[in-house]
Amino acid sequence: MKILIIEDEKELMQSMAEYLLSENYLCEFASNCNEALDKILNYDYDCILLDLTLPDGNGLRILEELKTLNKQDGVIIISAKNSLEDKIKGLQIGADDYLAKPFHLSELSARIQSLIRRRKFVGANQFNEHELLIDITAKSIYVNKTSLNITRKEYNLLLFLISNKNKVISKGALAEHLSGDIADMLNNHDFVYAHIKNLKKKLSEAGCKDYIKTIYGMGYKWE
């Protein structure tokens, strides 16, 4: 899987690259519009991470160029602006997703995977993970071919954990993934623990091994 990271903040670019490289993606970089245009002209990417505020112009230019070139690369906009207008405009021009800074790398990774999965599969979209079968289209989980009775939030939680396999995900990242903006209005993130507990119980009752590890009491990992 090849990813192009277009981001002028070097440190942020490095963090993203490090995280994604360890998930076996191939990463290339561009730190301004011209570099980026040069790359998209010559290569195809599975996913492009696009910062909108670049030193030599608005990142939306790159989106427009992709459209003119009739390229099929998936694009996730990463913007500091978090403005609805940019979001709508970006999605209209052809971006697939929009992520506002600051974001968790686990969230980024999950979004990339979801994007790639969506683009790769036509029709039924399923994949296996240990003894689990995850049906993205139907939003359901099967353990040894039996359907698992889980809530929408538990499903999202499980998918998020699996998308960040072998990575420690902080409680905050999980909370934000589950409740969006509301997460930071809640008093604490104990509800994440409650959800994890319920999910673990349901998985073990269905005969699934325990792959969810608690790390330092502050994060979780799917192994």
Partner: protein, 411 residues
């Protein structure tokens, strides 16, 4: 206006007796003169012709010039006022009398000439009526003229006042003042205009600053967060180090929430949210309450009265933010296991949660005002609620009733 009238009335009241005294003195002089003339005429024409025997006949045919016996020894002309009985009118009337010494047949007599003063009374009456009439017309005239003049004169002033009352920096509308012929008002308008332009400018600058500062902070925050995420993957972390990371995560979360909220406020103030649509308030609250529901806090949101068909015309995103802020506040601060009560009725939404003591109403909706020692909030939630209300002309208020914190929005 009042002083004008008072002065006029006083002047008239003081002048009335003076005028009367002057008039009556002139009139009296006039009468005295005519009495004198009559007496002189008598002395010239008749005094030397008359004999003692003629006196009786003279007195018989004359009414106002009589020859009397000198009983008191009148030596010179004497004027005096007297009330005499008038046999013609059959009543007593005031008279002006002149007693003068005359000689008939070598004997001393007194000539009495008199004139009725009835006309003086009439004069006084006439003067009084005239004065009342003048006074009344003067007051009425003054009143009408003053009122019209002040209306005319103060018109531009009231226009300016009205503009000031309607002025709000948030709306950033410059007010146009019509040119007035009055120099002072033009000065006032210029000064007010300057003040308005200045306020609008500072407000704009402050808004831009907030927005830019918040934007600029997003990228370093993102770097911070991503580095923490990377650090967390390190398998050789000690428990202690992990705890530090956790604390950093929490501080970072607060910082980015603060930043997000600051951005949000400046966006609302910059009218970024202006997609007006019809929103069903009840449906929206149900949807949001569902998001808040976690396995730990279940079903503690209860509706008391509900108008399920209540619709609002506003930006849906903004309304969501408003409700979310109120709900999260209620959830954050409510006492253990007590219900959060919601009521929607008669253009009004109330969200109540249990509490111990009343909160400072003044501070509550201000930015960064921390109430109590709870540090989990960032002091912007209710400020955002207020900003949204301000945008739509809604009213946000707080009351402490029956151990309940009640937040009410009137639409």
């Amino acid at each position: 206006m009042f002083y004008n009238a008072l002065f006029s009335v006083l002047l008239l009241l003081i002048s009335a007796p003076i005028f009367y005294i002057m008039m009556s003195k002139l009139y009296m002089d006039d009468i005295d003169e005519s009495l004198q003339i009559e007496k002189n005429e008598f002395q010239k024409k008749y005094e030397h012709q008359l004999t003692k025997n003629d006196i009786l006949i003279w007195n018989k045919f004359n009414r106002d010039i009589l020859i009397l016996k000198d009983t008191n020894g009148v030596l010179k002309n004497t004027f005096l006022d007297a009330i005499l009985f008038d046999s013609l009118n059959n009543e007593s009337e005031p008279y002006r009398l002149l007693y003068s010494p005359i000689h008939i047949d070598g004997k001393n007599y007194v000539l009495m000439t008199r004139q009725s003063l009835v006309e003086t009374e009439d004069l006084v009456k006439t003067i009084a009526w005239l004065y009342i009439f003048i006074l009344a017309s003067l007051l009425a005239g003054l009143f009408i003229i003053n009122r019209n003049i002040s209306k005319q004169i103060w018109k531009p002033f009231y226009k300016t006042l009205h503009s000031i009352e309607n002025f709000s920096v948030e709306k950033s509308e410059k007010q146009e003042f019509p040119k007035s012929i009055i120099y002072e008002f033009n000065e006032l308008n210029t000064a007010v205009n300057k003040l308005m332009v200045k306020s609008i400018y500072s407000y704009q600058a402050q808004k831009e600053f907030t927005e830019n500062a918040a934007h600029e902070m997003q990228t370093p925050l993102a770097v911070f967060q991503s580095k923490l995420d990377i650090l967390l993957q390190n398998s050789s972390l000690t428990n202690e180090q992990a705890q530090i990371i956790q604390l950093l995560y929490e501080a970072l979360a607060r910082l980015s929430r603060l930043n997000k909220n600051l951005l949000l406020i400046s966006k609302i103030e910059n009218n970024i949210f202006d997609q007006i649509e019809k929103v069903n308030l009840y449906d929206l609250i149900i949807k949001l309450a569902d998001l808040f529901e976690t396995p730990l806090e279940k079903n503690n949101i209860k509706f008391t009265t509900v108008d399920e068909n209540f619709m609002l015309n506003c930006d849906k995103g903004l309304l969501e933010i408003l409700i979310t802020n109120l709900l999260s506040n209620a959830i954050r601060y409510h006492l253990n296991n007590n219900e959060i009560l919601i009521s929607i009725s008669a253009n009004k939404l109330s969200i109540s949660n249990s509490g111990n003591e009343t909160l400072d109403n003044e501070k509550l909706f201000k930015r960064f005002s921390k109430i109590g020692n709870n540090t989990s909030g960032n002091g912007l939630g209710l400020a955002i609620v207020k900003t949204i209300c301000l945008k739509y002309g809604w009213q946000a208020s707080y009351q402490f009733v029956n151990s309940l914190h009640v937040f009410t929005i009137r639409f």
